[in-house]
């Protein structure tokens, strides 16, 4: 019987082709906007998480101050420093490599000037694990020393790599020795083993990766020493910016991250271990909030489409008053009439949904390629089956819901009055 009602409704829609199409247009404009915005949002999320994944891999996590990324994070405000016991971290089960980065300002003495006086000053001194360069190139980007020098290797301690500009200011070259004073009288003479390629000459280092943050962006005045040299100069201090950890194969990165976080925090650190999953979640929440907001605005046009369906259905009920009377006279129940009209309005919603979904997906593909070209990235185009199914069901129910009131009116028409209606 339902199939017959469906045919009756479809025939009625086809009979009023022009008006039905206009109504459907009203629906699909809204659906197009919603589907396009959500799809673009999903594509954006996919693109960003893919990018993050390509940097992280599946076996790496970051240790940050818990205020920077964690349950108590107090919003954007730059990375907070923290103290770290690297040895303890390395002993955590499942940790394969751990590399950290810390920074202090220190008194540094280099070569002599033209008057024979020593050149000295306060400079940022950065301590970094050699593994950062050997194991985590996806994070640091490609770092390059000028010819004649080299970067850190495992086992290096009393050595330094200088940014190009600071090497000029201190008047030192590869092979010279500089003096660095740390905390509580600690001091060290270290040998310059390399000088970084100046940022403007090294465009690769600027491209992608977090490496830009380590050297290139620090105004070219940083003196980098191995992490162990930093320990000798300043001891353990609240100055660690970031730590990268790679897990042993076969270990679940989220489990190891949790273990590391617990172990370190039990020893007084205030850190959170951030995995790819955590970052994806944050990105997901962010992008879905934005796209939900945009889709909500687009949803207003859906409301307008719904009102259009309602209007059309009221007209249809009015026009077919006599037809309704006839149907009732030949034995139609009120519920039959109600069902026929609901199917009719639901069908218009559904057709609007189908057209709108197709147009919306098309629009999002076009928009994605524009956005991608603008930002120079490959934007993912996402056609989510869930989104499509929800949209189609939703549009059917939007139509049916909009038709509810007119359909009820049709169903409740007294049969004698309806038959008499001209």
């Amino acid at each position: 019987m339902f199939k017959d009602f469906f045919l009756l409704a479809a025939q009625s829609i086809m009979h009023r082709r022009m008006r039905s199409w206009l109504t459907v247009i009203g629906v699909f404009i809204g659906i197009t906007a919603v589907v396009a915005l959500i799809s673009i949002g999903l594509g954006l999320e996919r693109t960003i998480t893919d990018q993050v994944a390509s940097v992280f891999g599946v076996d790496t996590f970051i240790i940050m101050n818990e205020d920077t990324f964690g349950p108590q994070a107090h919003g954007p405000g730059g990375a907070e420093e923290y103290t770290l016991d690297l040895a303890t971290l390395r002993a955590v089960e499942g940790v394969k490599v751990a590399a950290a980065l810390r920074e202090q300002n220190g008194f540094v003495e280099g070569g002599v000037n033209a008057e024979g006086k020593a050149i000295q000053g306060i400079f940022p001194v950065m301590g970094l694990s050699p593994e950062l360069m050997t194991e985590f190139e996806s994070f640091t980007g490609k770092l390059e020393a000028m010819p004649g020098g080299r970067l850190f290797e495992p086992g290096d301690v009393e050595v330094a790599v200088l940014d190009f500009e600071v090497s000029q200011r201190l008047g030192v070259e590869v092979g010279d020795t500089i003096f660095i004073a740390g905390a509580e009288g600690a001091e060290l003479n270290v040998t310059v083993i390399g000088i970084m390629v100046p940022p403007e000459k090294n465009e690769d280092a600027l491209e992608g990766g977090f490496g830009t943050q380590f050297s290139s962006s620090s105004d070219g005045d940083t003196i980098s020493v191995p992490y162990e040299a930093m320990e000798l100069l300043w001891g353990p201090a609240d100055d660690v910016l970031v730590t990268l950890v790679r897990t042993e194969p076969g270990y679940d990165v989220d489990e190891v991250a949790d273990r590391a976080e617990e172990t370190l925090n039990a020893r007084g650190s205030e850190i959170s271990a951030v995995t790819y999953t955590d970052i994806s979640e944050v990105i997901g929440t962010m992008t879905s909030t934005i796209s939900a907001f945009l889709a909500g605005i687009a949803g207003i046009s859906l409301l307008v489409g719904g009102v259009g369906v309602m209007n059309t259905m009221f007209t249809s009920v009015l026009e077919r008053t006599k037809e309704i009377g006839v149907m009732k006279a030949v034995g139609a129940k009120n519920s039959h009439v109600l069902t026929i009209f609901l199917i009719e309005s639901g069908l218009m919603g559904l057709v609007g949904g189908i057209v709108g979904t197709l147009l919306g997906l098309g629009l999002s593909a076009v928009a994605s390629s524009f956005i991608g070209r603008f930002f120079g990235v490959e934007m993912a185009v996402v056609a989510s089956p869930t989104l499509i199914i929800i949209t189609l069901l939703g549009s059917f129910f939007l139509g049916a819901f909009a038709g509810l009131w007119p359909a009820r009116r049709a169903a409740k028409l007294p049969v004698v009055d309806a038959l008499r209606y001209e």
């Binding site: 025939q11 009377g325 030949v330 034995g331 139609a332 129940k333």
Partner: protein, 228 residues
């Protein structure tokens, strides 16, 4: 036992602020298989009587038995079932659904009774053949002549094999030539199939096929000889 038994039927309805007394104590009994013509001037209550007999409306007072059932006591749901199965309507203006073919129009009452598609189609074609429209099953109402439309409407009235056919001015919109087959068909339904046929009409030709003519005036049956 009469198939239709009306006693002291009154019907009042409000038209704005005035109360219209459409029927004022009408008595009517109709035997099974009878052809009755109901005649009378406009406003005499013919249509109201049709609506009550067809279970489309309920009387304000009096008793009305249709096929042994007291219409006053029936719930809306039962009235719907009654007009779906016991009564077939033929209207002056045919009242076919314009978007549906002749066959689908005839199927419509069967759809509401939940009869299967195959059975429906078979019976619809059979009925259209009976009314002489075997070659018109796929035609839409606007592709048919007035007489043909009314015969489709008669096939529709017969769809659920009702006991009573109610025809409200069946020839009112037809000329004599196309009206005659309609009237012949109504007569045949009574003679061959034993259906009770009640015709509301102004048409003397229609009245001529009736076994009995009932004249109405001012909402009641007029017994006098000079009643028109």
């Amino acid at each position: 036992m009469p198939v239709l038994d009306l006693k002291g039927i009154t019907k009042e309805y409000k038209l704005g602020k005035t109360v219209v007394r459409a029927l004022r104590g009408l008595d009517l009994g109709v035997e099974e298989g009878e052809v009755i013509a109901i005649m009378g001037p406009s406003g005499s209550g013919k249509s109201t009587l049709m609506h009550i007999v067809g279970a489309l409306d309920t009387p304000t007072g009096g008793t009305a038995f249709l096929d042994g059932q007291d219409l006053q006591q029936l719930k809306e749901r039962q009235l719907v079932a009654l007009r779906g199965k016991k009564v077939g309507f033929v209207f002056q203006t045919f009242n076919l659904i314009q978007t549906l073919s002749a066959q689908r129009n005839v199927e419509l009452p069967m759809i509401f009774q939940g009869i299967r598609k195959g059975e429906r189609a078979r019976r619809a074609r059979e009925l259209l053949t009976k009314v002489g429209l075997a070659d018109r099953v796929k035609h839409k109402p606007n592709e048919l002549s007035g007489g043909e439309r009314q015969r489709v409407a008669m096939a529709r009235a017969l769809a659920n094999d009702p006991e009573i056919i109610l025809a409200d001015e069946p020839t009112g919109n037809l000329d004599t030539e196309s009206g005659t087959p309609v009237l012949e068909l109504l007569k045949r339904l009574s003679v061959e199939d034993g259906k009770t046929v009640i015709i509301v009409t102004h048409d003397p030709d229609a009245a001529a096929i009736a076994d009995r003519i009932v004249r109405l005036r001012d909402g009641a049956v007029c017994e006098e000889v000079d009643c028109v």
